[in-house]
């Protein structure tokens, strides 16, 4: 039951850069990349099959076919992915798109391109922590990619055994 971060980005160079910047996390979480929305849906189906959880989507907005924001709206509507953390990583979303993402997709964070590596990692750490807290998951298997200070109070509840 691994946590999964899905990178949705059509430009290969940008996609690879995002994956590279998050490579440190890959031994704890599952890192997946998709080039468009149909591809992303395939990934989600694979996660379901493997019993892994879609914890966070880092989506570009401007994509061939369905847009990133539309995909995020779709995720919120589906009970299985409503709780998935949703982040736009984009430079091209105009104000209308952004407003729609906040109001209709429950956008959790906005990262403007070009991103800073440290900033990106902090956002991912915070969002994964939010996901674990919101779903009431056991934080221990994922502790290394979470914000330890925020998770420690949860660990008190484990109790002695």
């Amino acid at each position: 039951m691994r946590l999964t971060v899905l990178v949705l980005e059509d430009e290969p160079a940008v996609r690879e850069a995002l994956e590279r910047d998050l490579a440190d996390l890959a031994d704890v979480i599952r890192l997946e990349a998709a080039e468009d929305v149909p591809d992303a849906r395939t990934v989600i189906a694979e996660l379901d099959r493997d019993g892994d959880l879609l914890a966070l989507v880092l989506a570009d907005h401007r994509l061939p076919g369905t847009s990133g924001v539309d995909f995020l709206v779709e995720l919120l509507a589906d009970p299985a992915t409503a709780v998935t953390r949703k982040v736009l990583v984009t430079g091209q979303a105009d104000q209308q798109d952004t407003i729609r993402a906040v109001n209709e997709a429950g956008l959790d964070h906005y990262v403007a391109k070009p991103w800073q590596v440290d900033e990106l990692r902090t956002v991912v750490r915070d969002q994964l922590t939010d996901y674990v807290v919101a779903r009431g998951l056991d934080p221990l298997p994922h502790l290394r990619v979470l914000d330890t200070a925020r998770v420690l109070p949860l660990l008190r509840k484990l109790g002695d055994r």
Binding site: A82, P141, R161
Partner: protein, 472 residues
């Protein structure tokens, strides 16, 4: 729509492992076999209890169902099979069902309830963290001294707060050090220091860790109650020596004295009226626990005082009660009920008759029991190990030239000395999850500490108890 969304935010239910499915199957087979097959020398009540005991062993070892489910299952089966309300009535006068249900409100459970409420309050008002900040100050300046202070404070806290909660609190305290300490052996040593000290500290008082409660409950049901201070006198010497050894091992193995380890913690005590009331109530409770010989009020009664006082003053509320560690309390209750059943059905007498125990060297028997406790609780829950071993060991000890109290306490302490694997205790699991310590290092230190602990426990501690006149 809303309902669906709520449902999916629940944590996903973990799948069952092959071990768990096997455990369930083996448990059922063993249970039914023990009920149906004639056991020589064992009459109907004892045979039914044997079936329950064997089922509990399989379920607690394999965790086929959650530990707490097995615990309440033991109580239910005792009511259905060996009480006065048994489905198939027993001859003679079996214990009333109420006696088995009463395990859930055993005096030891009430004592723990008080301990839990004080521990949760300490966290709610930040008392644990602030105390740690103040007490750590004198140890600043040298890495090894800092680790010494850290371990001493962790152990002291863990005597009154659960080992797991103590570990969480103390990790919060060392996060600033970890943030600047480069990866390497010093990190490993520091990350190991906290869970080890928390595990060891748990043996210090009756409320420090569930195995202590299980032993205490079993002793009380035999009319061999141990006072709060009495337990401390028996256990603290071992705690101090093992802690000292652990510090020596960790610092020599991992932490050079010149490791940069600066800890500047600001203590910021909550001075709200609620917090002040809490400090007074918690302080008075601990003081009353420690002075039982002076006033004679039983530790259980003292433990119930903060429950009443904190609820009456609304310093703690119903919400605080809801989040108490009820599964831990009920797990202990299951062990107590198991001990009561073994005693009430004559299963104890049958177990004694199995082997000519008196022909075995006493020391060997104790050593084997302690090693079984250590080994089993390394891979399964400490409380479940104590639930199974304490009644068994106390049964076997009858008729041997050893004090029942000594054997009960000894087994409980052995169960708490297991810390060689990440699965051994939740504090170990937390340390392992940080990624700063691997299984190998945890096993080396854990085995060394466990071995030293058990050797002291078996060969030295009974002598110390006798020479101090602590046991009759």
């Amino acid at each position: 729509m809303v309902a669906t969304a709520t449902r999916t935010t629940l944590p996903p239910r973990p799948g069952t492992t092959a071990l768990q499915r096997g455990g369930l199957l083996v448990g059922l087979v063993v249970f039914v076999t023990a009920l149906l097959v004639e056991v020589p020398g064992l009459d109907a009540p004892g045979q039914r209890m044997l079936a329950i005991f064997l089922l509990a062993i399989v379920l607690w070892v394999t965790e086929a169902i959650p530990l707490v489910a097995t615990a309440v299952g033991v109580i239910l089966l005792e009511v259905l099979l060996i009480s006065d309300q048994a489905l198939v009535a027993l001859p003679g006068e079996p214990l009333p069902a109420a006696d088995y249900f009463a395990a859930l409100a055993n005096p030891v459970i009430v004592l723990f309830l008080g301990g839990f409420l004080i521990a949760d309050g300490a966290s709610k008002f930040g008392l644990d963290r602030n105390l740690a900040a103040i007490l750590l100050r004198p140890f600043a300046g040298n890495a090894r001294r800092t680790v010494f202070g850290l371990m001493a404070i962790t152990a002291a806290l863990s005597m009154f707060v659960s080992n797991t909660a103590t570990t969480a609190t103390m990790f919060a305290v060392i996060l600033p050090i970890l943030a600047v300490l480069p990866p390497g052996r010093a990190r490993t040593g520091l990350v190991l220091a906290v869970p080890i000290a928390a595990n060891v500290g748990g043996i210090g008082t009756p409320v420090g860790s569930p195995p202590n409660a299980i032993a205490l409950g079993a002793l009380q049901s035999q009319g061999q109650g141990v006072s709060f201070l009495g337990w401390m006198l028996l256990a603290v010497p071992l705690m101090v020596v093992v802690l000292g050894f652990a510090w020596w091992l960790l610092t020599r193995r991992y932490i050079p004295a010149d490791t940069p380890m600066v800890l500047e913690l600001a203590a910021d005590f909550d001075r709200s009226p609620a917090a002040v009331i809490f400090y007074v109530v918690a302080g008075s409770t601990v003081l009353l626990w420690l002075t039982e010989p002076l006033h004679g009020i039983a530790s259980t009664t003292v433990g119930f005082l903060p429950v009443v006082a904190l609820l009456a003053t609304q310093v703690m509320t119903g919400d605080d009660l809801k989040v108490l560690q009820w599964p831990v309390l009920w797990l202990v209750a299951g062990g107590i009920a198991l001990g009561i059943g073994i005693g009430a059905t004559g299963l104890d007498a049958w177990l004694i008759g199995l082997v000519a125990w008196e022909r075995l060297p006493l020391l060997l028997l104790i050593l084997v029991l302690a090693l079984v406790g250590l080994g089993l609780s390394t891979v399964i829950s400490n409380s479940a190990t104590a639930n199974l071993l304490v009644p068994l060991a106390m049964t076997l000890a009858t008729g041997l030239p050893i004090d029942t109290t000594a054997i009960g306490v000894l087994i409980a302490l052995a169960c708490s000395l297991a810390m060689a694997l990440p699965i051994s205790t939740p504090p170990n699991a937390i340390a392992f999850a940080t990624g700063d310590v691997d299984t190998r290092e945890m096993a080396i230190t854990g085995l060394a500490i466990g071995a030293v602990g058990v050797l002291l426990l078996v060969f030295v501690l009974p002598e110390v108890w006798a020479s101090l006149g602590l046991l009759s």
